[in-house]
């Protein structure tokens, strides 16, 4: 294993170099293009194109009778482009929705491609062997003339992305703005489509029809979980793409029965799954934890507010309260109540006295603050937004948990240190 590893990464054979350079180039170029289609929410366009190049490849072969990479590329480019044009045309000129048109264009072009491919295979032309490499991809077959042609395509794709970076950026984020600026949005879209088709054509022989979509979509989707900045996103997507290219090539070198393309996609998907779940800001795990923390905080604050409100009504905060008294003020689920009370006790906001509960000094001041913010906000809504007093409670219920001390001061100043809220309840003063 170790020897294979060293053999591979020192590029002991020229073939290794070819395959690695080829897969890395095409991974990077499709990852970059994919970022823009991703941001335009048109990721599946890559899927359509990769299926639609098949009839073009077959037609080129039918016309010439042999496999000339340049003519095959031209044919692939032509039908790939046509599929997107057809998709757009159908959406624009009928009531067919985009998802349907996508499936339609993808499957019909591919069906035609399969019909032509099987027709060629049954025709007995000996030149045709290897055409089916386009279906499932054969990165290891990227040698000689093919490597040069597809490598050049990948480089052209890369250069196009760099050259049109600004334009792509604008239409990816704000097409209306671009139109209002007087930019030729239509032409930029056409260039982006062409670059997408180019990236697909460059990669198709290595990874195949179905998995080409992953080369475009997955790096972009993964990168988006780590950053909001386009430049960083492009860089990350390119790194993910390159990494998958090298790893995929290595796996199929170490275990020759293993196909390169699917392993590249597996590596990419693995990175994607890790990012989806564990990315520090946007990962699913962090998001769930954050939601849980917020729900807990709200529960605790609501409990303290309820204790405060009952005390307010009784005119004293020194008496321990029963759970029934709290329940009359606001209903909590038994489960919530159990967890919330335990946490409040451990934070030192509540004290337990036999079966009753008593606010501590800290708890009292915190409960008072929440109640105060609630009423301040209700007053603000009625005074400044002219909302009827019976409509402000719901909004205050959620905003009371997020107002910062600075905002609190600002509200107080705006409302001129009020005493009563819109329901004539006293707004408790600050400690």
């Amino acid at each position: 294993m170790k020897e294979t590893f060293i053999e591979f990464f020192t590029f002991s054979y020229p073939n290794i170099t070819y395959v690695v350079v080829g897969t890395v180039l095409l991974s990077i170029s499709s990852a970059l293009v994919g970022c823009f289609t991703f941001l335009r929410k048109k990721s599946l366009v890559g899927d359509v194109v990769s299926h639609a190049v098949l009839p073009g490849i077959c037609l080129s072969f039918l016309l010439t009778g042999y496999k000339n990479p340049l003519i095959i590329v031209a044919g692939a480019f032509f039908t790939g482009w046509l599929s997107i044009a057809a998709l757009d045309y159908v959406v624009r000129h009928s009531k067919i929705k985009e998802d349907t048109a996508t499936g339609l264009s993808l499957s019909v072009f591919f069906g035609l491609g399969i019909l032509l491919l099987t027709f060629i295979q049954h025709s007995g032309n000996a030149q045709q062997t290897g055409l089916d490499a386009f279906l499932f991809g054969k990165a290891a077959a990227l040698v000689g003339q093919d490597l040069i042609v597809f490598g050049i395509l990948a480089v052209i794709t890369l250069l196009m992305v760099l050259a049109f970076f600004k334009e792509f950026q604008i239409i990816a984020f704000d097409q209306q703005f671009a139109t209002s600026m007087g930019l030729p949005v239509k032409s930029i879209e056409m260039i982006l489509t062409s670059v997408t088709v180019l990236a697909v054509v460059a990669g198709i022989q290595a990874v195949g029809v179905v998995l080409m979509a992953a080369m475009l979509i997955t790096p972009a989707a993964t990168a988006k979980f780590w950053t909001d900045r386009l430049q960083v996103m492009l860089l990350l997507a390119a790194i993910f793409g390159a990494f998958s290219g090298i790893t995929g090539a290595f796996i199929s070198y170490a275990a020759p029965a293993m196909p390169t393309g699917p392993w590249m996609v597996m590596v990419l998907s693995f990175l994607a799954l890790i990012s989806f779940f564990f990315a520090p800001q946007k990962g699913i795990l962090v998001r769930l934890l954050r939601q849980r923390r917020i729900r807990r905080k709200q529960l605790e604050e609501n409990l303290l507010k309820a204790f405060y409100a009952v005390g307010e009504r009784l005119g004293t905060f020194d008496k321990p309260l029963t759970l029934d008294q709290i329940g009359e003020k606001r209903s909590f689920r038994p489960e919530e109540l159990r967890i919330g009370l335990r946490r409040l006790v451990s934070h030192g906001y509540l004290r337990r006295q036999q079966s009753d509960w008593q606010l501590t000094a800290d708890g009292l001041s915190k409960g008072r603050r929440v109640q105060r913010l609630h009423r301040l906000w209700e007053l603000y809504l009625t005074e400044y937004l002219s909302i009827a007093p019976d409509h402000v409670h719901e909004d205050a219920e959620s905003i009371e948990h997020v107002i910062t001390p600075e905002l609190e001061l600002e509200l107080e100043r705006l409302l001129d240190h009020p005493i009563h809220d819109p329901h004539q309840s006293v707004i408790p003063s600050r400690d």
């Binding site: 599946l44 499936g103 499957s107 399969i114 499932f136 179905v210 998995l211």
Partner: protein, 298 residues
């Protein structure tokens, strides 16, 4: 005789697909069917390795489960991870498909299923694989019987659940308010899509199932705004594309399923142009609003 069996098989696949596809495209979920049809591959390969037959009920059930898992993952990444739907679909199905291809190449010797078959199937072999009873009597081609069963299941589902499917498709919030769960019907529909995909897999392959799910219903959708008529038209287009597709493939000596998809696409193109022409004529005369302007069906 073989030609007839092939055409009937194609017609059965096309009918099942068109029925489900009509609901899918109205729910704007055409691409989810694409995802499911690819993602069931690992399930099929694993079932193969476990020694079960491609037509066995276990296989159908297992692949149905994988299909549901796909639907669930797409929803999960979209809602919990805030990943946009198109990317969520793209990442999920390519991942599962890659897994399937890897399993396939790893166990290439053990599984009697080849890569090309995965993509476009081979309907021409359907008449050769017969179900033989213990008594030695021949019941009929296996795929034909399985597909007939699947069509029956689909018909029963759509007939019994017609009202619920319609309401959850057009007005989910109303459905919820009258106690019909949109997500329950969503998953029920998706399990049937998985079942149909797997059942049709051997005959038409992963991608051409999508052609039959999307294209005939889309053609029908151009022509009518009535759901029942749309279903009938979609099934008719599906069946006619299987008949014409067979003859096209016969003439060209090519893949029958590829030809079926091509014919379905041609039918769409013809109807598309005809509807467009008619609308133009109507607008010119100024007699009635164009068909496309009155969007009753979403």
């Amino acid at each position: 005789m073989n030609a007839l069996i092939i055409i009937i098989t194609g017609a059965l696949v096309a009918s099942s697909c068109s029925i489900l596809g009509s609901f899918l495209i109205l729910r704007k979920m055409a691409m989810v069917s694409d995802a499911i049809s690819h993602a069931v591959l690992p399930g099929i390969v694993i079932a193969f390795l476990l020694g079960s037959d491609i037509d066995s009920l276990w296989m159908l059930a297992g692949a149905g489960a994988v299909g549901l898992l796909t639907t669930f993952l797409i929803e999960f990444f979209h809602q919990k991870g805030r990943l946009q739907t198109d990317a969520s679909i793209g990442v999920t199905f390519t991942w599962l498909f890659a897994l399937g291809v890897i399993l396939l190449s790893y166990y290439a010797g053990d599984a009697h299923i080849d890569e090309a078959c995965v993509l476009y199937g081979e309907i021409a072999y359907v008449p050769l694989d017969l179900i033989e009873l213990d008594s030695g009597a021949i019941l009929g081609p296996k795929a034909l019987i399985v597909l007939l069963f699947i069509l029956m299941v689909n018909l029963v589902f759509v007939t019994l659940g017609y009202k619920e499917l319609k309401i959850t498709t057009f007005d989910p919030s109303f459905a919820r308010s009258v106690g019909i769960s949109p997500s329950a019907w969503h998953y029920a529909l998706m399990s049937l899509v998985s079942l149909t995909t797997v059942g049709s897999f051997e005959s038409v392959g992963a991608i051409l199932v999508v052609a039959l799910i999307v294209t005939p219903p889309a053609t029908a959708y151009l022509m009518t705004q009535d759901l029942t008529r749309m279903l009938v038209l979609a099934v008719s287009f599906g069946i006619s594309s299987s008949i014409l597709g067979y003859f096209l493939a016969y003439v060209l000596d090519g893949s029958i399923s590829g030809a079926m998809a091509t014919v379905a696409g041609l039918q769409f193109a013809v109807v598309f142009i005809a509807v467009k022409q008619r609308n133009r004529a109507i607008i010119r005369q100024g007699t009635a609003p164009p068909l496309e302007a009155t969007k009753v069906l979403h």
